[in-house]
Symmetry: C2
């Protein structure tokens, strides 16, 4: 039997049990289950890993609980700027957008960049022009309004603080969503999407839209999607580092992920986590924070939906 | 004697001898020599590799012959959008900007991002706001006007073509500039700057401002600056790939650069080159194109200013 598998994340961070009500925990787990099922259904029907990670991330993007698309945090101007990327392990083709707005599903736009242009990364208004050119739908600002996110922003908007959707406030987490998958054809893929940092200024771009940092996929090694302190993931070139440890040092997926998250990333002061899959059906969910919203499933009977360690 | 060394590039591509006049060749070589000297002088005086690569790149940015800053090509809107990045091998700190305009020296702004923010990458108008906030000087559009670049753009502006400052036209090259250096303190650094693609649309971002793709530096391995078909360098995570081959496979700087440029990059269809330095005083200038504008110098008597193979 050809293996299929999928893993998703909804961000990592110091998710404190004391701040989590039973009701909230149920809501998070239901949302994770829904996204997992959205991706797994694609795989079960013989669909591609690329379709599976896109569908799983779209499900997470459509959920207000996670900091991506619908649940994107407010930037310093009271708006929403989003980043996303996607990569296919078979062809090593990739697409990404950064600093887009009024896009319901940035991951779907990233996929169009991959498929309809010779480019990998489009930014800001240029990416919006591309979206308009291909007839990609736009959505009103209202769609992104969320009272909880707005209150988060109001608390710090007059300060110099940026927030990775965590620290100082009750809901402490790095806000990013992502997925990795292996399909029945033996191909893997990865995708990541984020709403950035609350009160983000200056067009800051983190690791989420950067191939090699926040997202990477190569059939020979692994598919990886990251979440955490983006600047450290950029400087550590984290997603590709996992791939290189496998390709150049012969490490297993699990050993490579643990080496990167628990040693290399921590040695430069970075925190967060990642999800990874390889073409042999292995899945690793690694994080050096209190928790990571995560879920995974394969066709050998393994299924997990978890928040804490 | 502690070794010092520096290497610079002014882009790679199919630089045809038949299109190059003796006069033009002299002008290019003089400009390369000037940039080399600007960086080497810093090192000779005991300055840092970070200062040396910044000064060398500023010299190249100020020269209209190269596609960066002063010589930046025109984008689809008839304007100039520039990207730059810089990284320090000792601290693995990095700074970068993408899609900026009216900035005389984007590499200097990238360094300010590294030193004055907790961020790595700032994009577009947000990066411009950051520049304004720190009192970074702006310069008029006129500064970037160059008749040769304007004629390049006029020829293709009504087409769907993008140009990496090469192909179809006489002056065939990938337009990027960069520098790597080793200082007397044993630290290395790398910097890259580009004016992008002629008739560039949709806010396309290449590898130049991306840490791990176009620029990387780590004292334990190497400092790298790339130039070439940016999308392939992004997908290949080229600069960090050189570092990983050294760190994880124990390759020498030269072997790692050759493996990446002549095998791994070519296997996905990418062309271009890179310059690299390590903390032991080694320098490698590798490219899989007809030529690369390049120069290098150390304090053991080696000095080179070259264009062709």
């Amino acid at each position: 039997m050809q293996k299929i598998s999928i893993a998703i994340h909804g961000g990592a961070g110091t998710i404190l049990r004391s701040e989590m009500s039973e009701e909230k925990e149920v809501a998070y787990k239901e949302a994770l289950q829904e996204a997992l099922d959205a991706g797994y259904t694609v795989l079960e029907k013989g669909g591609t890993a690329l379709d599976a990670v896109e569908q799983a991330v779209i499900s997470l993007e459509n959920c207000p609980l996670f900091n991506a698309a619908k649940g994107a945090v407010f930037n310093a101007l009271g708006g929403h700027e989003m980043d996303a990327s996607i990569m296919e392990g078979k062809t090593k083709l990739a697409g990404a957008v950064c600093g887009v707005h009024n896009i319901k599903n940035p991951v779907a736009l990233a996929r169009q960049v991959m498929q309809q242009t010779e480019h990998v990364l489009l930014m800001g208004e240029g990416a919006m022009d591309f979206a308009a050119t291909i007839g990609f739908p736009f959505i009103d600002d209202d769609y992104f309004y969320d009272d909880f996110r707005y209150q988060q922003w109001l608390k710090i908007k007059d300060s110099e603080k940026f927030q990775l959707d965590h620290s100082d406030i009750k809901d402490k987490k790095f806000g990013t969503v992502g997925a990795v998958a292996l399909d029945i054809h033996g191909n893997i893929a990865a995708a990541t999407s984020t709403g950035g940092m609350t009160n983000k200024k200056f067009g800051r771009v983190g690791d989420s839209p950067i191939i090699g940092a926040g997202t990477y996929a190569n059939n020979l090694t692994c598919a990886v999607s990251c979440t955490g302190s983006g600047e450290y993931f950029l400087r550590g070139v984290v997603a590709y580092d996992v791939s290189c440890l496998m390709e150049y040092k012969g490490m297993s997926l699990e050993d490579a992920c643990n080496e990167v998250i628990h040693h290399r990333l921590q040695s430069i002061g970075g925190d967060g986590g990642l999800i990874a899959a390889d073409a042999n059906g292995n899945i690793t969910l690694a994080f050096n924070t209190e928790g990571m919203y995560r879920a995974a499933k394969n066709n050998s009977g393994y299924e997990e939906v978890s928040i804490y360690k």
